[in-house]
Every structure is written in C-alpha cells, then in structure tokens.
Symmetry: C2
C-alpha cells in the first residue's frame, strides 16, 4: 500500500483506446490498495493543434490568453480518463490546476509552481477515488490560468509527489527507461537501473528528452524518487534518485550528444574589462540562450572568444555579433553550424582522476579534432565536427565500459 503519483504523456493518452488502456493499468495499482494520483498530458497533437489555432488568429497571441487556450488540452484528457475509470465501475475525479490548487507565479507559458494545496486531493483519496490531475497548468495569484511550458506535466507530477509526500513518482513514456546513450546511434547502449538527480540534470540539459529539466530539479530538491518507464510494457524502467556512495564507483554513467548547437568565434577581441558583457548583452536582450563559452588567455592584449547557441538562433546571433564586433574593434567573426557537442556524465568523476584525459585520448585515436572543451563537476563536454558524432559516441561508450555485455540493444 503506497501513495503513487503517475504521469502519462501525450502519446500514452493519444486516443480513446489508449486512455482506456491507461485506466486499466491504473486500476491494477488501485486494486492492490495503492492510493493513485494520475497526471495526464494533452492527447498527442492537441497542444500543437491549439497553438496552430492561436497562430491562425494572430502572429503573436497574447500570452495570458494562449494559456487559457492551451489548458483545455489537459482538461479534455483528465475528463475522458475519469469517464473511462467510472465506466469500469470504479470511482474517479478529475481536478484542474485551479481545483487542486496548483499555485504558480505569473509567467504565462513558463510559470513556476510555488505551492500546491493537498486538501482536496487527500479528501478524494480518502474516499478511495482515483484522482486525475491536469498536467501543465496552474493558477496565479490573480486567479488566472497559467501553463508551465513544454514538458510541464512532468513538473506537475513531481511537484504533486513532493507535496503529497508520495512514495514514488512514476513517469510513463514511450521509451522504457533512460539509456547510457541514444540506442539509435549506439546499439550497445544499456538501459540504466538508476541514475542520480545530478546526472539526470546534466542529461536533461543536453536535451536527452526523457525528463523535463525542471521536474528533475524539483525531484532533487524534495528528494522524490522518479521511476521512468514505458506505458506499453510492464518492465521496470530507470529510477532517478538521490546519489548514493556506490554510484561514485562508476566512472561515467552515460554519453550524451547535441547536434543542435552552432559555434560563433570572435577573433582578436581587445582584452579589457566589460568586453564580454558588451558582446553578450544584445544576445541576452534578444532572448538567445548561450551555452558553452570559451575564452583563451590573452597574450598581447587581444583574445579569441568562442561560444555556442542553438542552431535556430544562428543567423540572428551572427548579425548581432557582427554589429557588436565592429563596435569593439574585433578582427572578425566566424560561424560554424556543423558542430556537435559530445558529453560524458558521471558522479564518479569527482573522485577519479583522468576521466577527461581518457576522453581526449579516445577521440584522438579516431583522429577526431576537439574544437572546444567545457567541464563541470560531473560532466566533460567537447565540441567536435558534426560528422563524427555517431563515431565519437560509440567509441566513448566502449572506452568507458558502458557497452551492453551481449553487444545488443537491451
């Protein structure tokens, strides 16, 4: 007997038949005496349909009203799910963001949860009802509907699990767990049994899209164990949990990559205080997110500055930087879209020397040139030529002992 929060994504509730399947699955847990809280996303494609409708109306939909519109997607899912459960002879209640209530700030489209009331849910659970909560949505201090942004239903689920002090938060998705790397490019990738919050955060920041990054931050903050698993099998998935000592025995937990970044280099920038601020200010103002930044030590009062931005922002960034480059008297601005960022991640790095060295050696053996390097406590990232991405992932996966023993996809 446990209190379990489960979250099912858009593909898991993508049709009437699939919602019925989810209801059956939830009922199995319920019949075993567990208290069930089920967070649902909008049916697959629905959020995109609603966004299209808004864009048909106007190029820049009002953010407050866009949230009112988008919130209907999850509302439809929870109503249909509760109907399904009731049609199977069990009690269920759907609750929307305002009914729970899930309190957020007023950042429409990317609101942050600051408080969740638990009274209504607890009351429904005491009556042996299955509670289904619309993901992705909340209520601000003025009583207006907010949404949490893409992947927001993960955050809803983890935040609810934290508020309700749930035993576990299960995130059901269309893959059966978190892998050491993308099995599509590395057939020897292994499903991990568990991963620490910090490693997962590094993975998520690299767009390994299994879990939304804020949901992991939430889980870490409140120590909520997350179980990432497949909607379509009964198999155990991957537990995302607090770090334990034995985790450090493993040098590297996973290899991640990102092909969606582009590199900008500003050559011979005068090296004086305030220059970096001057360069990045127009990017910040335009909402461009800069990822890696590398600046070499200055030799003769001039330095080279290199950084990466999302590929989608490449042209915009180039024109902004060209402008500021002239103002500050830099020699020239170079850009390159054909790069990839390869990262190795693992809490074991903290207590083991030579991890970065091994990464560089491994890449060197394949004649892969490293263009940029950036490190964190539990991650080393290298920017390389994009065409070597798959090769680099595979050799690193092998070098750090991550390969599936059977040499097959598990």
């Amino acid at each position: 007997m446990a209190l379990i929060v489960q979250k099912y994504g858009g593909t898991s509730v993508g049709s009437i038949e699939k919602i019925r399947g989810v209801a059956k699955r939830v009922l199995e847990y319920h019949k075993q005496g567990n208290k069930m809280v089920v967070v649902l996303s909008a049916m697959a494609g629905q959020t995109d349909n609603l966004i299209r409708l808004a864009q048909e109306m106007t190029d820049e939909p009002d953010p407050r009203e866009l949230d009112v519109l988008l919130a209907t997607g999850e509302q439809v899912s929870v109503a249909l799910f509760a109907m399904a459960v009731k049609s199977m002879g069990y009690e269920a209640r759907s609750l929307l963001g305002f009914q729970v209530a899930i309190h957020t700030n007023r950042l429409f489209g990317k609101a942050r949860i600051h408080d969740i009331e638990t009274e209504r849910i607890t009351k429904e659970l005491e009556k042996e009802r299955i509670v289904t909560v619309a993901g992705f949505q909340g209520l601000d201090g003025k009583g207006d509907i907010t949404t949490l942004g893409r992947g927001g239903s993960d955050t809803t689920a983890v935040a609810l699990a934290a508020a309700l002090n749930a035993d576990v938060c299960e995130i059901f998705t269309d893959v059966n767990g978190i892998y050491t790397t993308d099995p599509n490019i590395c057939p020897r990738a292994k499903k991990m049994d568990r991963i620490s919050y910090n490693e997962m955060l590094e993975m998520a920041s690299l767009r390994a899209k299994v879990l939304e990054i804020r949901s992991v931050e939430f889980a870490k903050k409140f120590n909520v164990p997350i179980h990432v698993r497949s909607t379509f099998t009964q198999e155990r998935g991957t537990m995302v949990v607090a770090e334990t000592e034995d985790m450090e025995k493993v040098l590297v937990s996973g290899v991640a990559f990102d092909k969606n970044e582009a590199r900008i280099t500003i050559k011979k920038v005068p090296d004086r205080p305030g220059i970096a601020a001057k360069i990045f200010h127009p990017l910040f103002k335009s909402g461009i997110i800069v990822d890696m930044i590398v600046q070499n030590t200055s030799e003769d009062g001039e330095t080279d500055l290199t950084f990466t931005v999302p590929t989608s922002e490449f042209q915009k960034t180039l024109s902004l930087v060209n402008k500021v480059g002239k103002e500050i008297g830099a020699q020239k601005v170079l850009g390159d879209k054909n790069i990839a960022k390869i990262s190795i991640i693992g809490v074991g790095m903290r207590s083991h020397a030579g991890v970065a060295q091994k990464m560089f050696d491994t890449l060197a053996q394949e004649n892969i040139n490293i263009m940029m390097i950036s490190t964190s406590e539990i991650k080393v990232s290298c920017v390389i030529d994009q065409k070597y991405t798959e090769l680099a992932v595979r050799v690193l996966h092998t070098a750090f002992g991550l390969d599936n023993d059977l040499g097959e996809k598990s």
Copy 2:
C-alpha cells in the same frame, strides 16, 4: 455610454475569421465609450464533437466529467476572442465560469445559476478592458465545473446582465429577430419589433428556438431587456421586454407550431382517484416529459386519457403505458406520431373574448380536425393532423392580422 452584455452563438464564432468579425463589431461599441461584456458559445460543432468523444469512451459518460469536458468548448472561444481583440490593439480579458465566478447548483449538465460575483468583471471594465465570459459554464459549491445545458450561453448572458445591472442584453444569432411565425413555411411572417417576456416564454416552450427558455425566465425575473438580433447585419432585431399596456391591444402576437410530439390515448380508463398518478409515475421515473394532458369528463365510471410526449420518446412511452394499462384494466392504448401542435400566443387574449373561438373557426373552414385543445392565459394550442401544419399556420397568421403588408418576407 452604457453597460452592454452581448452574447454570440456558435455559428457567430464558428471560425477564426468569424471570431475576428465579432471582435471588430464589439470594438465599435467599445470605441463609442460603452462598457462591453461578451458572452460566447463554443465554436459551431465543437460541443457535438466533444460529446461524440465522450460517447466513444462510454455509453453513459459520468455527468461531472462530461461537464469538465464540454466546458473546454467555450474556453477555446473566449481565449481566441481575447487574442483577436488584443491583436487589434485593444485590451481584453477572458474569464471562465470559475473566474467570474458564476455559482450554480450541482445538477451537472443542467445546472441553475444561483449567484454571480461581479467584482472581477467590474474591476476589468474599470480598466477599460473588454471582458469576455465563457458561456454555458459555472462552478458548484464544491468547486466543481458545471454546465447549464443546451442554450446555456443565453442564460449566462442574461444572468450576467442582471447581476451587472446592464442597460441591455443583446443576443446575436443567425436570424435577425423573432418572427410572428416561421418565415420558412409562412412567407408573410413579420419580424416583431418587440415581444413580452411571457409571450416569449410560450414561444420558447414551443421550441421556437431563438432563445433558451431559462434565459427568458431570468430576464423576466430581473427585468433585463433582451435585444435579439443578427450577427451578420446591423439591422435592429426584436426587443424582449416587460409587458406594457399597449401590448394588450394586439390580439395575437405570433403563431407557433411543433411537429416533434406524439400522442398517446388510453381508452376506457377506470375513473377513480390515483389512476392518473399511476399512469404517469413510470414515465416520470424514466425522465419522459409529458406535455399536453387531456382527460374527458367521465360518464360511466370510465374515461379516456390523452397526452403528448416528444416523438423521440414515443416507443418507450408506448411500452410503459401498455404495461400500466393492463395493470389498471384499461381497454386499450392508441398511439399517433403524425400530429402537430399549433399555438396562437398573445397577451391580448387576456382582455379579448373569442380568440379561441376564432382559432377553431379558422381551422374548421379548412376542414382541419382538432384532436386536442389546451389553453393558458396567453396561449391556445390545438393538436391536429401533421399534414395540415403549414396550412394551419398560414390561415391562422392571416386570420389574426399578422401578415406582412407587402405580402413578402420582411
């Protein structure tokens, strides 16, 4: 400068283009200095789509959850409308039932409004914002979403107009007012300039579908003037208002008809106390709404009982009545689906003798047999053979002086 509540139905907001048109229309009023509250229905077809989705899930969708599902239709409309207004450079705010708040009882699918808070709307209006309110939905005492039933957006609009003490409630629809009878079968039908609440109530109960009956009850109770007019022209429509003395000068205001009733006759029912109750009890329990009931004076301890029910309930009613007929020892049960109910309506009847007589004479002149008669203070209804419906409407329309002078549809 006035406070105006406007309601636009599903066809008026049936597409992005049409919603934009409504926004432009509302802005014209706004620019003239009027405070605007705009109630919207779901986009045409949306409510039916949602009902289909629910029925795909289960034959009997849970009423609470069905309301959660259906409420999304109006939510989409108001969000899109507010976006449209904002894209035109003006301020707008959408409000849902729970945000206003519109308090109802807990009769899911046919909830009744018992209280409307005005604070939020008033505050938004003071900021010169156009307020758009989702029609059809409310909030019960437990914080659950309720819906008001078909045509509920009319009720929302009128109730809001009453609560806000609005100057007028304008109901925009796809016809340009209320006619003396259906122009489709009587080309000489005239658009009325005004009609009293009571006459409109009788019209509405005859399924002359321009206004939902509860909205008229509300308007009557709180003396809210309703202006029924077309979304697609600037023409004045019909005012629904409190009765004035001069209205009584007109003998008959309109001719209504209803082909969707069927007649059941129970022959030779033992005439003793409690028999009628016994006959109607199973119908009541099955939720069948009985309209006209006629019982002849008993001659020899036996009587004939005739009543009408909606055609859609005909078979069900027949089998229930056959059963109870045997129990009480009635001679036999007859049924007839090919009937029509023709009614003349007018507050003038109260002060003029001979109106019913004139109706009977007019029908007799055309050899139309009258099967049942029922009267109220301002209405006389006759049941006739359905095939004479159009003829009966036309001759009565002429006999009571309702014909358009030009002999053409106005």
